[in-house]
């Protein structure tokens, strides 16, 4: 056997990350401060509303866009969370999910559009997305800490990276699925690229884009829970402390709260997608 020296892949990556943290930490720290203030103000805003009022508002919202069943489910589920004393961690998790999803969508939509319109760009992006999705989610947490420090911002960074791919993929897919004849019609009458995109491709892709956003929200929620390992507050932190103290009851309570939150977010976005498609 020839003695092949071990490739120092890990060493290279660390050197790269060290370089980035060494030279760009002022940038990342600034992003960190900005994001942290956004998270806490959203959190404060949501916490300022008394839980019962919040439950009524969410239930009404569910009733309006989906139906009375989801409204009833919202009242029961959220009341249970309140009753278990998990209201604050639930709101913390929700704030993280909302902000992470917004950031993910803002980044993902333009990338998805570009990937749909340019085959070359598509060929570059798709493998990167594969990488982002299959890399175990925990791994993103490690470099997040030197960039953004312990806590919510690192959680959001890792969450955005982990949850963005479906929004990109579905956006690209939705636009590519627009029938050729329709695209030809838009071209034949002399549309500019932007007109074709805004008047034809995006409106037709909307249900598919919404399906991607739904996926992104679900992934974000799961990641937000995992992010408790690097000090993010919320339901994940409850689970994490239950593990460390070996309290299965408390662990399941927090877990059930996650499930309720997930179901509500999922059904609401599904219903929005359905409405778009039926229009």
């Amino acid at each position: 056997m020839i003695d092949v020296p071990r490739i120092p892949l890990g060493g290279w990556i660390e050197a790269g990350l060290d370089f980035l943290t060494g030279h760009y930490s002022h940038v990342t720290r600034a992003i960190s401060r900005f994001t942290r203030s956004n998270i806490s103000s959203l959190n404060d805003l949501l916490m300022a509303v008394p839980p019962w009022a919040m439950i009524v508002v969410i239930a009404l919202l569910c009733w309006r866009i989906s139906g009375y069943r989801l409204g009833v489910f919202a009242i029961l589920g959220l009341s249970l969370i309140w009753n278990l004393g998990l209201w604050q961690p639930t709101i913390q998790s929700l704030s993280l999910v909302v902000i992470a999803t917004l950031v993910a969508i803002i980044i993902a939509l333009p990338i998805g559009v570009l990937a749909a319109l340019s085959d070359g760009f598509n060929r570059v992006v798709m493998p990167i997305l594969d990488f982002m999705q299959t890399m175990p989610a925990f791994v993103y947490l490690i470099p997040a800490i030197p960039f953004f420090g312990i806590g919510a911002v690192s959680a959001i960074f890792a969450t955005v990276i982990f949850s963005m791919p479906p929004a990109i993929r579905f956006t690209a897919l939705g636009i590519r699925q627009v029938p050729t004849e329709l695209a030809e019609a838009a071209d034949a009458f002399g549309s500019t690229r932007m007109q074709k995109l805004l008047k034809l491709q995006l409106p037709l892709a909307l249900p598919t884009v919404m399906a991607g956003i739904n996926q992104t929200i679900m992934l974000a929620l799961s990641m937000v829970v995992i992010a408790a390992m690097i000090g993010a507050n919320g339901l994940g932190a409850e689970v994490w402390s239950a593990i460390q103290r070996l309290q299965p009851g408390a662990g399941f309570e927090a877990g059930i709260a996650v499930v309720i939150l997930a179901m509500l977010l999922d059904r609401i976005t599904q219903a929005m997608k359905g409405r778009e498609a039926a229009r």
Binding site: E184, A185, D187, A188, F189, G190, S191, Q195, K199, L204
Partner: protein, 427 residues
Amino acid sequence: MSDDPQSQDGVRIRVRKLSKVFGKHPDRALALRDQGLDRAAILERTGDTLGLSNIDFEVRSGELLVIMGLSGSGKSTLIRCLNRLIEPSEGEISIEGDEITRMDAKRLRECRRRHFSMVFQHFALFPHRSVLANAEYALEIRGMPKAQRQEKALDALRRVGLEEWKDAYPRQLSGGMQQRVGLARALASDSSVMLMDEAFSALDPLIRRDMQQELVGLQRELDKTIVFITHDLDEALNIGDRIILLKDGEIVQVGTPEEILTRPANAYVERFVEGVDMSRVLTAQAAMRRPVAPVTLDDTPGEALARMDEGGVDTLYVVDDERRLAGILERGAVVRACAGEAPSLATLIEREVPRVLPEEPLHHLFPMFNKRSYPIAVVDGEGRLRGVVVRGAVLAQLAEVGREAPSPEPVPSLAPLDGPSATGVSS
């Protein structure tokens, strides 16, 4: 850019030496073509498909030009080269003297907005837009103010009879109605040329007939230049002013429907129009249709005018009490008569009308149709009006019979016109 849309020679679009290669080495493929290799050999050598080769033709102002060929003949590629939805590999295309093939993206867009509208086989309506918003599309992207473009779009919808449906969505309409919206969208754009890609092929036969007639009517009325693609010989003969026959990416014959039928350029065309010498046994009776209810000599000009409006025609046959053909009335004469003091119809009619017996062979009828003439009257031995033959019907009938096995006795395709219903005119 010439300001006069009807340029001096009446040519709107000129296509010179147009070729299209699908594949990675168009130059090599074209070089092989110049060495005399055919499509199959070029495909084998280079892996490229020669879609179109050395196409030359003109589209004249105000004509309905049909490009006809079987699938794979390159007709869809050809129509898409005209507005560069497909980029030609070589050759020149110019519209009113402007060379489309040399335009940059911006000028091409301007050119498409000004000159081209398109109607698609599967309608290609925008499903998320209402019927009105679909019809508005071409004007909207040019930045026309909303009120103005809605008015124009409504005009176009009115023309195709869909004004009532303006707020509906395409999926709520039948296929025929959807294609009317497609037509309205193209009409509203006010383009100088309308490209129609197998526009009626997805419709069922009865509706297709109606649409063909309507298209011909619209074209006469609006003086549109239309390039129409089809694989259907009946359709081509029925609506075309001229027909270009395409095979394997090359033009086989260009000519009027009559020329294609009577003087096929080669064996291929001959096979295409096979059975056409059936015209020797086909008679006027087979192709004749019920006339718009004729008036009698006792009717007033006002009644005649009402009858014309009802039937949507500009000429009307006049019969005497015995239902014998007396002559033909033209709208202009009737309108003038209505405006002034109204003389009797007898003074207004044109008595020299071409007329044939039911047994007259159809091919004798061709020369009798000079351009824009009225239908030919079919009369029996006693001179009684039995029916009329319109130009399109002759050709359609020939084509239809050519398709089926010839029967010794020609079977009329339309309801026979004998019997009291056809004669109950002045009741």
